[in-house]
Symmetry: C2
Subunit: 433 residues, 2 copies
């Protein structure tokens, strides 16, 4: 097997003008232009690694800048020098002695670390000629353990506990892989209920989605109370009593307001209430959960494993929504999968944006195969746009993600996309200007 | 009174090569080059506003980039358009609908918001011809209240509670101001015990500091246990039993390790243990506090008011260490002062770096005058370097900060400093290259 040297790291600023159609609009994120700081690892072989972190547009250049600095930890290194100790490598990117002041392990610098770590995993999986989920699934429990940085979480899960948990799931692995190959991984749709959509549009989208086999639907809430209630009634009416309705407030409320509003909306039997308040408010989420009686979900803005640890320790969440790029790539996501399994909380990844669906399908599959061993109460978010830019896009059948089969971590975009959507000089942006 | 229009915002990347003398070295921050993203607000009058955020060197350019974007919220606006509603202005800088994805309210983007908000306050205080602490102290309780964004904290303190608290401290204000004018605000020194200093150097620095009247001394811990114990014994021996010894682990430990190590070091009667673990670990700090029996301090890396709220709600800290630049400038610091007062936790600001001492002297003075009304268990950090670059530097007498008397927020640096320390093209950096 070749062991390529990474000879050059390109970091691109890609932006898609999604705000023009209210795609992605919610109570807080009014006008996102889905964007990516996009890393390309060129090597001295025919192999290339692709990785990204996701943002909403403005400020994407900061993630690009941070990734360009962190690229120094990758450049001119053999792939094996990184993959022989991926725990140490991920620590290098998140613990630079001057850079860490800007976090530590949060915000711009952490998002940038994710892009590079994800790119290295893509290159690794291509070298091994396996899709990422398979590369992970083929590892021994010990190998998986050594991917994870237990610093700051060993009071919640020790290495020994993690090892025992992984070993316990060796049994039944092949059946679960066969199950995924047959049916795929359950998904839910967020495409029906964006904030900026009219009632008519929501109604017709629900109708279409039902016909396509969807059984889980997300509605954006957090507007005027009467509007939320009207929209919730409308969606519930459209999807019927047996489909699951998830609500997402995107951090719109304070704690007391979140309790009141969630109680009101409970009339429409939400399967969960997502991001009812500040993503930093662990104790607040715990209180909203206790006092509303509704299942609580959060995570797309959860900055790192230390925060997820506390959400679990505080019994603050019923649904753990990892994000493939907000956390520092594959490694830190594995840490959270392990903790969630220990605490018995289902992981339902955040996706959408650009590339997030392509990423999380691998993480969900691996969670089922080797960590949680369960599909109960588990669905992965699916949003239906921008997939056409990917060389190996997600494939959905009957509201399930089909298992990826191509080598890598599925983030490679077409060369034409990289050209046209480069900001600010790509064709798409020049045409809009 | 003139109402200047901000015509141009300059943002400079200033770095000081402090790592060459182990100044600022601790268990985690091995080699900081104290740096600032430095904002200059030029106006159509003779008034100019100066503000900064503090970093450790690499990555400072990201804060500069973020501040240049946020400068758009300041540019071409009249000062009164900002100061008439400073709550709304600070919300604009921290809640941009695309930019907030990069936080929200944390890391690079929040540090950058601090620089601009602090610069606007400097300009405002100069316009009013008052030092910042006096500008705040002269406000009515209602005016102060309207500076604070209560979003996400109103479950811990309501506007009514904050108002009552401010009104209760109207009494005795003039006496407290007179007290500060007479004696200054108590300070402690961190300059004796940096990580990279030899035992001999620590010993002689303690000796000198004692002779200068210092009674509170901070020691950096978090190295090999035997080394920490030796250094703690050495400092305790040198400063005697009646001086206060604070220990600072700078996030070095996991929760369990922090409990063990803090218990061991308790033999030397630390007045507090600072940053024993991850700054994000609210529940961890609470456990370390309960199980070690030592007073716990944290805050220099506490990303925003939502985290401080929880540290207070969870009984996790005995000492609240606000940072003038980590939080989004004066406004968010006021929110934390109010919460700390409500929970009865003393505020002892983090300082040092470059410009932080110049800033926090104003916040501590205002806290005493109008919020907490008390000096009990309160000392402000003092570190003795880089003050020579400031036009109106801190003045220390008998281990107290003397009240600033010049108009503004004390962050103006000499033009020669701005030239020489610009990175990477200033003379200092060219000479080092």
């Amino acid at each position: 097997m070749i062991d390529p040297t990474i000879t050059r790291v390109e970091v691109l600023d890609l932006r898609f003008p999604t705000s023009r159609e209210s795609i992605g609009s919610d109570a807080v994120n009014k006008n996102p232009d889905y964007s990516a700081a996009y890393c390309i690892l060129r090597t001295d072989s025919e192999l290339t690694g692709y990785g990204l972190t996701f943002t909403l547009g403005r400020g994407n250049e900061l993630c690009v800048g941070a990734a360009r600095y962190l690229a120094g930890f990758v450049q001119n290194r053999r792939l094996s020098a990184l993959t022989d100790d991926l725990r140490a490598f991920s620590r290098q990117l998140t613990d630079d002695s001057q850079f860490r002041w800007l976090g530590p392990e949060k915000g711009v610098t952490h998002l940038a670390a994710a892009a590079l770590i994800n790119a290295v995993w893509d290159l690794y999986a291509r070298q091994q000629n396996k899709p990422l989920w398979r590369l992970l699934a083929d590892m021994t429990s010990d190998q998986i353990l050594r991917l994870v940085d237990f610093r700051y979480i060993d009071d919640a899960i020790t290495e020994q506990e993690a090892l025992a948990l992984l070993n316990a799931q060796r049994k039944g692995r092949e059946e679960r892989i066969a199950d995924l190959e047959r049916s795929g991984y359950p998904a839910y749709t967020t495409s029906v209920g964006w904030f900026g959509f009219s009632d008519e549009k929501v109604r017709s989208l629900c109708h279409e989605a039902l016909a396509q086999g969807w059984q889980h639907f997300k509605l954006k809430v957090g507007s005027e109370p009467a509007d939320d209630l009207r929209r919730a009634a409308l969606v519930r009416d459209e999807i019927g009593g047996s489909s699951k309705l998830m609500m997402d407030a995107n951090q719109r409320w304070g704690v007391n307001e979140a309790i009141d509003r969630t109680r009101e909306l409970a009339a429409f039997h939400p399967w969960w209430m997502e991001e009812p308040t500040s993503p930093d408010d662990i104790l607040g989420h715990a209180r909203i959960r206790r006092e509303s009686g509704v299942r609580i979900a959060t995570g797309e803005h959860c900055q790192n494993r230390v925060m997820f640890k506390q959400l679990l320790q505080a019994n603050a969440i019923d649904v753990c929504q990892i994000d493939s790029c907000r956390l520092a790539g594959v490694n830190e996501n594995l840490a959270v999968l392990l903790m969630a399994a220990k605490f018995g909380v289902p992981v339902c990844p955040h996706a959408g944006g650009v590339g997030l669906c392509e990423y999380v399908q691998h993480l969900s599959a691996f969670d089922y195969i080797a960590v949680s061993g369960s599909l109960e109460n588990r669905v992965t978010e699916y949003v239906d746009h921008l997939h056409e830019h990917f060389v190996d896009p997600v494939r959905i059948r009957n509201a399930h993600y089909l298992l990826p089969t191509q080598p890598g971590y599925s983030a490679e975009m077409y060369p034409q996309t990289l050209k046209d959507y480069s900001f600010p000089d790509g064709k798409v942006w020049r045409d809009l200007a």
